[in-house]
């Protein structure tokens, strides 16, 4: 193993670009990183991020170092399908490394050069690029936090180093053969075997990335992957505890599943691109990238950690097949495709670009939602969007019902208006019942009931009732001091919006549910009656005697109450 590694190193050394060497070394060093105990906490920080980038870099570098010119093409090349050449990938990594601050490089250099064998040295050198990359802030924010933890967990393991060396051998192989469906699991497995030292997704990713890049010995990788997957799961668990466990878990799972899908379906090509993208470590949703491959989405720059996790998840799924989300496979697949797209709200913007590609797969027995163009396709975000649309749709109905809300937009204000209106209605009921109690001492409303029916049927409102209705708003300020302004304002609103309301209501009748058809149909009539009756009264009312009559029964009632 060591010899093979050394050979690789020689290959790397042959490169003119020292950084390439570093990066290539970094690849192996990534593995080593896990194995080698990293006492320096700062270094630890670097590793997580670097791991991601390093993985890619390592993968590329392992294949063959290219000239420095490759570095320039790093940026865009990172994300493209790495089938073009190892050099390109490597250059990407190198470019990343170079781009990052040089300080990290120094640190990396200081750290890696431990008393390990040649492999270790390469590992250390690899650190420089990742460190620089890390500082570049390319990697996920979690990485720094995660790194220290994971670093401490990885004891020096010679066996791990051996495996890493083996890894590098694989990677050093046919770089062109990017398609390595099991590359990720293999690499992950290798790392995990190292003793669960995988810092988490980063580690796994590195392993997988390397695999995909080299794609030299897929078979071996597959076998390794199988074992690695289990280990990865362990490491994944470690990772999970670091960041937002639940989210990561679910993400990984979905990603893993999606990865599985992709592996089975799309094959290594997708994975390779994923790998490459992951190693790019653009700090974006790696998961989405992974998904892209799985679901044939465009590769997104996902956080390295997420990709690693997804890779791990894929491994997990392969190994254990224990999806956390208790849904059907097609659903999970679809969700897996969607989830990576928008893992975090931060990346929602980026996800939005790729969202349109995601949710094309129909679900079996769930609500089929198609992601619109330029929107995230994460299952969570899709469900959220559906929910939001439902809520806004119903708010429109409420807008028609509540007086004076046609101009109001936004949930908060609408809710406020709705609350006020419902409260006023309830208070009106109380007030009316109280008044009725005062008016009728014996609770015999038979005659009134009969007469009321006439009132109900007839549109013509007798003047007395008008007077009473007018007294209502006047009485309200007296009785309900809390919202004196509500009713006067409500009425003008009703008047001005009656026509609009009617039109909107009629236009909305079709989408309304059956339960709401009545209200919608009744609404125009309500507005007609109310407007004619109330508005006229409230605006043209100047009948003090009515109020007097109304007030008369009240005081006695109040007096009685007080007594």
């Amino acid at each position: 193993m060591d010899t093979s590694d050394k050979d690789k190193f020689e290959l790397e050394k042959s490169n003119d670009n020292p950084i390439n060497y570093h990066s290539s070394g970094g690849m192996s060093s990534d593995w080593r990183f896990n194995s080698t105990s990293i006492p320096n906490s700062s270094l630890g920080l670097v590793p997580t991020d670097n791991l991601m980038s390093v993985c890619r870099g390592d993968l590329v570098g392992a294949a063959s170092c290219s000239s420095s010119s490759v570095i320039d093409s790093f940026g865009p090349a990172m994300w493209e399908h790495p089938t073009n050449s190892q050099n390109l990938v490597f250059c990407d990594i190198n470019a990343q490394n170079i781009a990052s601050s040089s300080n990290t490089v120094g640190i990396g250099k200081g750290f890696p050069f431990s008393s390990r064998n040649g492999i270790d040295r390469t590992l250390e050198m690899g650190w420089n690029p990742p460190n620089s990359m890390l500082k570049g802030g390319i990697f996920l924010p979690n990485a720094p936090g995660m790194l220290p933890q994971s670093l401490s967990q990885f004891p020096a393991d010679s066996a791990f180093i051996e495996r890493a060396a083996r890894f590098s051998c694989f990677n050093g192989g046919d770089f062109g053969d990017m398609v390595n469906p099991f590359g990720v699991p293999e690499s992950m497995g290798l790392f995990s075997r190292g003793g669960g030292m995988m810092q988490g997704p980063g580690e796994v990713f590195v392993g997988s990335g390397m695999k995909s890049v080299s794609g030299a010995q897929t078979q071996k990788n597959v076998m390794n992957a199988g074992e690695a997957s289990k280990d990865v799961s362990m490491s994944a668990d470690h990772m999970a505890t670091e960041g937002s466990p639940l989210k990561n878990e679910t993400k990984r799972e979905t990603l893993a599943r999606s990865r599985d899908e992709s592996k089975k379906g799309a094959g290594g090509s997708g994975n390779d691109s994923d790998e490459a993208e992951f190693s790019g470590g653009s700090g974006q949703d790696e998961q989405s990238m992974l998904e892209g491959n799985c679901g044939e989405l465009s590769a997104k720059s996902l956080g390295s950690k997420k990709r690693k996790r997804s890779g791990q998840d894929a491994e997990l799924d392969q190994a254990k097949g224990t999806p956390q989300s208790a849904k059907g496979s097609p659903e999970t697949q679809q969700k897996g495709d969607q989830k990576p797209a928008s893992t975090t709200s931060k990346a929602s913007g980026k996800q939005g670009k790729q969202g349109s590609q995601g949710s094309d797969q129909p679900k079996d027995d769930y609500i089929h939602v198609r992601a619109r163009r330029g929107q995230a396709t994460n299952s969570h975000s899709l469900a959220e969007r559906v929910r939001r649309e439902k809520i806004s749709e119903r708010m429109k109905f409420l807008q028609d019902l509540v007086p004076g809300c046609s101009k109001v937009t936004g949930k908060a204000v609408m809710l406020d208006e709705i609350i006020n209106y419902v409260q006023s209605l309830q208070r009106q009921v109380e007030f009316l019942s109280m008044k009725l109690a005062t008016v009728n001492p014996r609770l015999d409303f038979n005659i009134e009931g009969l007469l009321a029916k006439d009132i109900l049927h007839s549109r013509a409102v007798p003047p007395s009732s008008l007077a009473f209705s007018s007294e209502m708003p006047m009485a309200y300020p007296a009785l309900h001091q809390s919202q004196p302004g509500l009713i006067p304002t409500a009425f003008p609103g009703m008047e001005s919006h009656s026509d609009i309301l009617r039109r909107t209501i009629n236009s909305q009748l079709t989408p309304m549910t059956a339960g709401f058809k009545e209200p919608a149909q009744q609404l125009p009539n309500v507005w007609d009656d109310e407007l004619h009756n109330v508005v006229q009264m409230s605006y043209g009312n100047s009948a003090p005697q009515d109020s007097q009559d109304v007030n008369e029964p009240l005081p006695p009632g109040h007096l009685k109450v007080e007594l």
Partner: protein, 187 residues
């Protein structure tokens, strides 16, 4: 267009009158407050019965009223034709609500809230508005009977239906009051 609304009002009025008759025959002398309570109670139950258990708020009203003696009588009287189904629905509602509440508590305890640090202005504004919306939905839940056990979407639907029914109730009561005062004044 007119028919549905007036049908609703007619139903409400009829049932309300029936409920009031129950009260009128039962007790001869009632204080004003008692009368007011009787009127309101019968009105509420009548309103809820118009929806015949299809909506959550109506079921809640009936369930709450059934706990009380007066309410039970009224419910039995008003809902005799459909009493069986509605009573079962109302009684089952309490258990269902308890279950929903327990589930929500469990969910909240298990959920891990991610605290966003250093949010940008836009994110901050969004979080503020979300909080406001949440607070107001809670208020609305307290207003609408049986609203605490519903999610946002069904809450808005219930509010819609409840608002329409409330408005019909207010309308009928207002007109009956007008008529009553007219009759009283006319005497």
């Amino acid at each position: 267009m007119r028919a549905p609304r007036s049908v609703l009002k007619q139903q409400f009025l009829k049932k309300w009158m029936m409920g009031l008759q129950v009260f009128g025959s039962a007790k001869q002398s009632m204080s004003i407050l008692e009368r007011k309570k009787a009127i309101k109670l019968s009105a509420d139950i009548a309103l809820a019965s118009t929806r015949a258990g299809r909506t959550c708020w109506s079921r809640t009203i009936i369930a709450d009223a059934s706990k009380d003696d007066d309410g039970k009588v009224l419910v039995q009287h008003l809902l005799s034709p459909e009493s069986e189904r509605l009573k079962k629905a109302s009684t089952g509602l309490a258990m269902e609500n308890k279950r929903v509440r327990c589930k929500k508590i469990l969910k909240r305890s298990c959920c891990i809230k991610r605290v966003r640090k250093g949010a940008s202005k836009v994110v901050l504004a969004k979080s503020i508005s979300k909080r406001i919306v949440k607070r107001r939905t809670q208020v609305l839940k307290s207003l609408v009977p049986g609203g605490e056990f519903m999610d946002d979407i069904s809450l808005i639907e219930e509010t819609l239906d409840y608002m329409v029914s409330l408005r019909a109730q207010v309308d009928v009561m207002r007109r009956s009051l007008a008529k009553a005062t007219e009759v009283v004044n006319g005497k």
